[in-house]
């Protein structure tokens, strides 16, 4: 096995194992928090974007365009350093909270656009049917449209989740010790590039595989046969 040790030194990686595990846990829970938040805000943005009122959909559209046209790195910096200067209570949020706010703000437009495509994919007949049995617009959205829409868009949602997980790698610029930070710490101390970065890559792939497995369960529960025939 010594040739394998030449390629990848397990002994040194072993010294940083707990740093990587801590980083992975942080990455997972931060991603999860941002996923839940951006999904719910995404529904609001999607509904705003489809609103017939010009004022409302224009605000949503402007927000979507601005966020999508600028890099996340810059957005994180502007929120972290700029918020305390603009708002008196800006310093209330610590690094972790700021990171969650920034990534949620960044992911919401993408989620919103995916959810909007999902809602648009539901036939008009569904809505008319719901209205004719006396559903309110809210009941119609909540019980009829959204469940079907979400089942239809699970694949792009999973794709966006994979991107979101990778986006958390930028958090180390505002001192949140996540997985990429763990890799950078190991690299900076030992300066062994191969082990530091390959290990980081493997950890991200592990999280990605975990996401795929979980989403497999979710797809079966949500859509079942109807989703597959799509």
């Amino acid at each position: 096995m010594s040739w394998l040790n030449d390629l990848y030194n397990f002994r040194i990686v072993g010294q940083y194992l707990n740093v990587f595990i801590d980083g992975m846990i942080t990455t997972i829970w931060l991603s999860f928090a941002c996923l839940i938040l951006s999904f719910f805000f995404g529904i609001f943005i999607a509904l705003m974007r489809m609103s017939p009122i010009g004022f409302v959909w224009r605000i949503a559209a402007g927000y979507i365009q601005v966020i999508r046209s600028t890099p996340l790195l810059i957005q994180i910096y502007l929120i972290y350093y700029g918020l305390p200067a603009l708002l008196p209570f800006g310093n209330l949020f610590d690094e972790t909270q700021t990171a969650i706010i920034a990534l949620t703000l960044h992911t919401t437009p993408y989620m919103g656009e995916i959810i909007r495509t999902g809602i648009l994919s539901i036939g008009k007949g569904q809505k008319e049917g719901a209205m004719s049995v006396g559903f309110s617009p809210f009941q119609n959205m909540y019980h009829i449209i959204l469940p079907q829409a979400i089942a239809n868009i699970t694949p792009p949602l999973i794709g966006q989740t994979a991107i979101l997980i990778k986006d958390t790698a930028l958090f180390s610029i505002i001192a949140v010790p996540e997985l990429m930070g763990a890799g950078l710490t190991m690299f900076s101390e030992t300066v062994i590039a191969t082990e530091s970065y390959v290990t980081t890559g493997i950890c991200y792939l592990l999280i990605y595989v975990l996401t795929l497995i979980l989403s497999g369960f979710a797809q079966n529960r949500l859509g079942g046969a109807a989703w597959r025939s799509n």
Partner: protein, 233 residues
């Protein structure tokens, strides 16, 4: 008040040449990567729909690896880890490494889009073409692909914006793109850090916004297969 505006104006003027140079580099790298990556992704996506099981499996593995790990890690492995293997042709200079890694990253998304767009053309189209006496290849090139190409335009434009923004990471291997030029400027004028970051954001906006508008327009004109990051089923 006027003083502040004058000071910021002065900063803007003295930084503009550097930032424009950075924007040009961002433009150059992203155009190369988008062209190469789209070509590779299109071919892979096409191959994936042909139904050879081992080929589909290998392409699937490729996609998962590129989509499951951050681009920074991929860039590192291509630029720094591959040369340590001692194979001469894997020893890229930084510009080549940037373009190769970014093209591979782009291709992983374009493959998904191509596959999804081909599957989005109703089966009846191909069956109809075949029943008119076209071969499988003819049916693909004359009937299926023209329809799917149209549907690919909007999601491709969104992916291009993602790729343009990914170039910000290239500074680690010494490519002086927009973010890098901005950060070098910050070292000279650390007092204006927020203002410089705002300027950088504006420059990215100027480049990306027209692409997004184009996506919007294309979606209205050509229709769409739905969302951008369609996962393989």
């Amino acid at each position: 008040m006027m003083d502040v505006i004058f000071a910021k104006w002065h900063v803007t003027i003295s930084l503009m040449p550097f930032l424009l140079q950075g924007l040009l580099m961002t433009f150059k790298v992203s155009i190369f990567a988008i062209t190469l990556g789209s070509t590779l992704g299109f071919v892979l996506g096409l191959l994936r729909t042909l139904g050879y099981r081992s080929l589909t499996g290998i392409i699937g593995l490729y996609l998962h690896i590129f989509r499951g790990s951050p681009y920074l890690v991929q860039l590192y492995i291509i630029y720094f880890v591959l040369p340590s293997l001692g194979i001469e042709f894997l020893n890229f200079d930084s510009f080549t490494a940037a373009i190769i890694s970014l093209s591979l990253y782009t291709s992983s998304y374009v493959t998904e889009i191509t596959t999804a767009a081909i599957y989005a053309v109703p089966k009846g189209q191909e069956e109809g073409a075949r029943s008119c006496g076209m071969s499988k290849a003819e049916a693909l090139f004359y009937v299926v692909l023209p329809q799917s190409l149209k549907m690919m335009i909007p999601p491709m434009a969104s992916i291009y914006v993602v790729i343009i923004k990914s170039t910000a990471i290239l500074s680690v291997i010494g490519i002086s793109e927009l973010t890098r030029q901005g950060e070098v400027a910050i070292l000279r004028m650390p007092g204006d850090i927020m203002f410089v970051y705002c300027l950088i954001a504006v420059m990215y906006f100027i480049y990306c916004y027209p692409v997004l508008r184009f996506a919007k327009w294309a979606e209205g004109t050509f229709g769409s297969i739905g969302s951008v990051q369609d996962q393989e089923s």
